[in-house]
């Protein structure tokens, strides 16, 4: 594990050189670091069935193309773009605009009165720092489970935006969705996680 962690410190250029040299630790590091985000993107675009295959193919194309990688985008964005292209080719042409007009609500209606005021107080959480949240094994489990149950597109947007720090523009590009769709998906994902933490706090 240690040698993998130390690779984290290397800059990307050095990492790519190591890959080109065929350094085993470098290969383990990139697969470990990026496989699951690539899967997230593939699942968001074509669903579960072909996602594994698309990601395997994306890895192969990426490794073949590596000597020509110019570093204009980060390695991560580049890998996600290759994955996205593969998934889209696989999907062929199909309308990519989602219909988000499905009556989804951030909070259920019963929480508000007719004028849209909250009926009950929003209760304070008794665990209120991220660190305290994380020390709580049960809650970790709640968050993991909720994350895995999110629809793939919500999961992919959440992963790229809130965990990987990608720009909205990049995310829209990778998933081939509009900015307003991406924002809605992100808010739904966050809201679902908020609900699960809230429910946990109440129990």
């Amino acid at each position: 594990m240690k040698k993998v962690a130390s690779l984290n410190q290397l800059d990307e250029k050095a990492l790519i050189d190591k890959l080109i040299e065929g350094d085993a630790a470098a290969f383990e590091f990139v697969v470990d670091r990026y496989h699951s985000i690539m899967l997230s993107v593939a699942r968001a675009i074509i669903g579960e069935a072909f996602a594994d295959e698309v990601v395997q193919d994306a890895w192969v194309s990426a490794i073949k193309a590596l000597p020509r990688f110019e570093g204009r985008a980060s390695l991560k964005t580049w890998l996600l773009q290759i994955t996205s292209n593969g998934a889209k080719t696989r999907l062929r042409r199909e309308s990519r605009q989602l219909s988000l007009d499905d009556g989804w609500q951030a909070e259920p209606d019963y929480k508000f009165d007719q004028r849209g005021h909250r009926i009950d107080d929003v209760l304070p959480w008794n665990i209120d720092t991220p660190d305290a949240l994380l020390e709580n094994e049960q809650l970790r489990q709640v968050i993991e489970t909720t994350y895995q149950k999110l629809p793939p597109q919500q999961r992919a947007v959440l992963t790229m935006a809130d965990m990987e720090g990608l720009e909205m523009k990049e995310i829209c590009n990778i998933l081939d969705i509009s900015a307003s769709n991406a924002r809605v998906l992100l808010h739904r994902a966050r809201t679902a996680l908020h609900h699960s933490i809230e429910k946990y706090q109440e129990s």
Binding site: L19, I20, G22, A24, F27, E28, V30, V31, D32, H35, S36, I37, L39, S40, R43, D52, V55, Q56, W59, V60, I63, K64, L66, P67, Q105, A106, E107, F112, R115, G116, H117, R118, D121, V122, P124, W125, D128, P130, D131, L133, L134, I143, E144, Y147, Q148, R155, L158, T159, D162, M163, M168, R183, L186, H187, R190, T191, L193, H194, I197, E198
Partner: protein, 79 residues
């Protein structure tokens, strides 16, 4: 007029700075007198930072070590 329900809908856009000025001001004014919504926004913020630290992962059963090795072998034959 911004109500609690609108705050719940627009929370992410507000936090991410993607709300047009008019709505932004409306939401802000609502926050001035509504402690529920202040708390709600705080919790959404906290949810985001928790996810960021916890980094839940996609579930998969790929043997990543085997994949890494396969790719390494492939890169050898390529160069």
């Amino acid at each position: 007029m911004f109500e609690c329900k609108d705050v719940a809908e627009e929370a992410s856009n507000y936090l991410d700075g993607d709300l047009p000025l008019g709505k932004r001001v409306g939401l802000f004014l609502h926050l001035v007198y509504c402690s529920c919504c202040r708390r709600y926004l705080q919790q959404i913020r906290q949810t985001i930072s928790t996810v960021n630290i916890l980094r839940p992962q996609e579930q998969h059963d790929t043997d990543t070590q085997a994949l890494a090795e396969k790719l390494r072998m492939l890169s050898k034959t390529e160069s």
